[in-house]
Symmetry: C2
Subunit: 696 residues, 2 copies
């Protein structure tokens, strides 16, 4: 049954890609607006291309080096020869989905502004459709990548009695390519976007006194590019990694759980069902005219919730067919994950939206100055960690016991893995609502710069404001799914140790000193990583400041609007800086499990992975929610509360918002990558670590 239903997976991935292509053509068919709009959109597009070009150059070098290292490991017998190639294909597919996402997002921004001239619904549809292209491309290519390798290995290992075991444990090691690309896209994108943002503001708004989004500012395009780089490509790569990571780790846990091919096929079939549900859900996203923020939000939510319901129904029947009625508890594991994802999104909104008390109270602390608003925001972020932690904990326990963990430990771990698959199943539409944000943001900028009428700008503002809310909930979802995926990967890491050496005396007790010190070091790593990322933003922003000052001085007629600034240069500086600043965090993420493994063995590594997942999860939520709340507290004051725009409390809130920028857009999200990449590196290097560790 598993083999037959597994055909749904390639079918689903192709369907996702075809539907994404249809949506993309639908978007591209729309008008781009007047000349001014086309000019701005072109500049953003060129900037994004410049970014992609340089990033892929850096990525190519990194992948080249890693390929050689993996080949060396394969030659020495620590890996199969498939891994170096799968490393390349994983990176390629992840990079391709980022490329497609950026292309459509930078094509849709001016078209959204143009469509908003017609009606609010038209604008929403264009922006959302381009988000859906991104979402469906990510899930389509992710699933396709897994299917291609699965069928290749299925053919290669044909006739081998341990075929399924060999396939799944090989496919498991394939996540590292996507993880590595995610590191570049998410961490690099995070550094890029905030360096451009802060740099543009420091010189443009403060020194030169020109407004935000002014086309004379050489960094303004870099700023707009940054939105796409961080929130489209970065977020996409992050979730691409979670998506395939959760699927392959669950598949690899199926064998030990005694579920065989059916268990290995189940996560892929779930993914296919999720794609179907996501595609259907997109049709329900529409709104009337005169829609407020809450109505627009409900329009997006409707799509997500309907997709979740469809998935819940379809997956019930599919799972009962694949795994049989006696294993139907696993279905509830899937549901636990699905529900946890929705709940985390909801509570993230509660803590960061100015519709609710926490952020409103944060605005009030701005009245007594920047110090109190910073303390208030940090405090809010710390407090807000409690609910998501409890939700994920409940999901872990529920999925473990529903799957039958009380009687069979390995079934319980499989349950945890498949709950991550459940959470990510409707990623096609969840990511669509998220990638929608920067498109709407850019559309607002274009409407502003091209001086479209007040009615249009009111519409683009409404669409943009909605994007801020979905960005916050999207971050919560990304963190939650990263944590659950990391747990699935850690379980798979444990499984891999026992596959490599079934007689290994594995002692993962908290009281094993290697595990304990691993936990401490792992618990510290997110702090170190977040610190490095924040420092990077500071240094990169400084470079932008110097460049913008230089252009203001050297390009004659720039301030009068008769000469064009050199946008590409700023984009290039941001990209270079992002690439360069990536080196230290990348080395930390890749070397930490290897060095810990050599010193403390696989026990130390297991501690490291769990420690970093726990602390990384909590710290990432805190940073994302503090940042989101500061942002919206500032907006709440700007909308006329506590003195309004220009007041002392507004200035204090701006300080909070500036601190929140690297929090929510650089350091916080980069922790998602850290916790997954650590696990992926550990999985790929397991055999190496087991051979060379000092403490066994």
């Amino acid at each position: 049954m598993g083999y037959l239903l597994l055909l749904l997976a390639p079918a689903g991935s192709v369907a996702a890609l075809v539907f994404a292509a249809c949506l993309a053509f639908g978007v591209l068919r729309q008008g781009e607006g007047n000349e001014q709009m086309r000019k701005i959109a072109l500049a953003v597009r060129q900037g994004a291309d410049a970014y992609l070009k340089r990033q892929y150059t850096g990525v190519a070098i990194f992948f080249g080096v890693m390929f050689v290292i993996l080949m060396a490991l394969a030659v020495c017998g620590y890996l199969t020869f498939f891994v170096p190639f799968a490393f390349l294909t994983g990176g390629f597919f992840s990079g391709l989905s980022g490329f497609v996402g950026m292309k459509i997002a930078t094509a849709a921004n001016s078209r959204t502004a143009e469509a908003a001239r017609k009606s609010l619904n038209s604008g929403l549809r264009i922006a959302f459709s381009s988000g859906a292209v991104m979402g469906l491309t990510v899930v389509g290519l992710g699933l396709l990548h897994i299917c291609l390798w699965f069928y290749l290995l299925d053919w290669f290992y044909a006739g081998d009695p341990d075929k399924i075991q060999k396939i799944t444990s090989t496919v498991l090691t394939f996540g590292m390519g996507a993880s590595s690309l995610a590191l570049f896209a998410r961490v690099g994108g995070g550094i890029f976007t905030k360096a451009a943002d802060v740099g543009a503001d420091l010189v443009g708004k403060i020194e030169a006194g020109i407004p935000e989004d002014d086309p004379r500012n050489p960094a303004v395009i870099a700023d707009n590019v940054g939105d796409n780089v961080g929130d489209v490509a970065g977020m996409g790569a992050d979730l691409f990694e979670s998506y395939i990571g959760s699927i392959v780790s669950t598949a690899s846990l199926a064998v030990a759980a005694g579920l065989g091919i059916n268990g290995a096929a189940a996560p892929m079939i779930m993914a296919a069902a999720g794609i179907l549900a996501s595609v259907l859900g997109t049709f329900f996203v529409r709104t009337g005219e005169q829609a407020g923020q809450q109505v627009l939000l409900r329009a997006l939510r409707r799509g997500v919730y309907i997709s979740a319901c469809i998935f819940a129904v379809v997956s019930f029947f599919l799972l009962s067919m694949v795994l049989g009625w006696d294993r139907i508890g696993i279905y509830f594991s899937v549901l636990s994950g699905l529900l946890a994802g929705i709940l985390i999104g909801y509570f993230t909104e509660y803590f960061t939206s100015d519709f609710y008390r926490p952020t409103q109270r944060l605005s009030e602390t701005a009245v007594t100055g920047p110090a109190t608003v910073v303390i208030g925001g940090l405090s809010l972020g710390m407090l807000s960690t409690a609910v998501p932690v409890i939700i994920v904990s409940a999901a872990v326990l529920a999925s473990y016991y529903f799957a039958g963990g009380a009687h069979n430990f390995n079934l319980g771990l499989y349950g945890i893995g498949i709950s991550a698959v459940g959470m990510l199943s409707t990623l096609g539409i969840t990511l669509a609502t998220d990638a929608y944000g920067p498109v709407a943001d850019n559309a607002g900028g274009i409407a502003e710069m091209a001086q479209l009428g007040p009615e249009v700008r009111k519409r683009t503002d409404a669409l943009d404001a909605l994007g801020n809310t979905t960005a916050a909930t999207g971050k919560g979802f990304a963190i939650g799914s990263a944590a659950l995926t990391a747990l699935a990967l850690i379980a798979a890491f444990r499984d891999r140790i026992l596959v490599l050496d079934p007689s290994y005396q594995l002692n993962l007790s908290l009281m094993n000193p290697s595990v304990l010190t691993g936990l401490f070091i792992g618990g510290m790593l997110p702090f170190l990583f977040a610190s490095l990322a924040m420092e990077s933003v500071g240094r990169a922003a400084q470079k932008i400041v110097l460049e913008v000052r230089r252009q203001f001085k050297e390009i004659a007629g720039l301030m009068e609007g008769t000469a064009q600034p050199d946008y590409t240069r700023c984009v290039d500086i941001c990209t270079r800086a992002a690439q360069k600043e990536m080196v230290a965090p990348a080395l930390v993420a890749i070397l930490a499990p290897i060095v810990t493994g050599i010193l403390l063995g696989v026990h130390g590594v297991a501690g490291l992975l769990v420690g970093s997942t726990v602390t990384g999860f909590v710290l990432a939520i805190m940073m994302a929610n503090s940042g989101g709340a500061w942002d919206n507290a500032k907006k709440y004051i700007e909308s006329g509360n506590y003195g309004g725009k220009g007041s002392e409390s507004h200035k204090a809130a701006v300080v909070g918002d500036t601190i929140g920028d690297p929090f929510k857009d650089t350091s916080g999200p980069s922790l998602n990558i850290l916790i997954k990449l650590l696990s992926m590196v550990a999985i790929v290097f397991t055999a190496f670590i087991m051979s060379f560790s000092i403490i066994k």
Copy 2:
């Protein structure tokens, strides 16, 4: 041999108390200075008395309730009947040492100022002597408390074949009284001191425009009281708890390690050796005239290092006598802890003192405004966590393997426990250098308010500046020792489960879902706790603001200096607020392990304890070091760098400093209490949890 040498413990504790009494009389024999100085000192003293009076009222109610609960547990057979009484005595001894410390500190402040009129060395000696009184009282009373109960139980269980086992496992549960008092002293003290500080500044400096430390400000005395409340009584209670916690947990681990009475006696004998070394070390703390900051620091360091060397030599001979030559590896476990404590202090200074690059660079970020200095400080704090984590990890591993953990797991755990004892052995003098700080701070304030000559104020300023450095290193030491003590307590918790039910199927694997969710919840608790503490400071400061405003308005002649403000009222408000705000954090710390235990069993609790220790340790270091670095970055600017006092960069640095206040003096230190109290509660409630847990 153990029994004979154990006599050193009561002898040592009595010696510490006698020597402390001699030092105290030496301090009290000094002159209190002129009338103005006496008047100010009296006000601080009255404030401190008012604080103690109200705090002990609150504590009495809490202890009454807890006594009833513990009695109920004892009646139901979940505890021995000794525990409720030991709970009271532990609280009493901890409270008594806080009482003595506050009394001597508030007596020494004016005497230090007066002595500084004679020479720098005289001032240093008085301030340091009063610190030494506190330090030696803490270790003397701590060790005395353990000895009293040990000999009482020794008599009670006389003839019982499992005597040692019964004594140690009973004494183990005695730490909760000290833990609970530490909660009030450290968290309450932290809220008190920052509420007074922030409240006094907001109205006095900003609204009324009067200088800091101006006697017309009704909150100024509360501010001075706060220094004593937070850094003397709070720090003392914190380390009192670590001190006895490390000793009793190590003693309880001795039986499972097969070391019997000798192993149980060893930590107490080590403590006695440490007292001897501390007393001798105090004689080496002296300086000449014309001493700069570095010379003064070296004077204090000399005392600490000489104590450590003496301890290292003496403990070698004592341990070889108690445990025999074949167990001499345990001596190196002790040394690992001792060395780790010294190294953590050193690196804390590196990251927070403006003699070194990190804080100097932080000052530079103030040039571009408050946002960059806040980001820089948070980033610095996060980065600074790496070194202490690696030091503690190395100490854990080293002490485990030195003690023989490779062959006998329980010996390894004993090694971890005794390394905490080693770190805390010279607490008598370490705490002296720390409690010295607020005395010097108060002396500086008194010299300022009493308008003593510039030569004297230069001396008190030098003494005060030194106090800032020792405060930062003292915090690092307190956190490091809290983490190591918590680990010892967790090991003892595991041991206690097996003592209560030797057939219990203990599975502390990371992959046990109860352990895993416990880790997540535990990892989140420090964030929740820190958030609650920060919110509390904000609310309490608000009350002080209202009261100071009221007094300015209602008391005629106050601003002209003809009428006296009502200092006691502000002190009382701070105390009340601190007590009231304690309720939520106290409930979190006490209920978290019990509720987790009921839901997830002892496995969940073990995960909770380890998770909170890991995250709490890292977060506490980050908060303490960020706060310390902001404080000193401000001072560095004030000393004439980057624009100096009154410049824009100074204003930005003040924002950082204000944020750092609750970080370093409230939330950060309160995490030390959290991680130990969670363990103590878990230990006391082990039998209860094992009976009533849903998931076993």
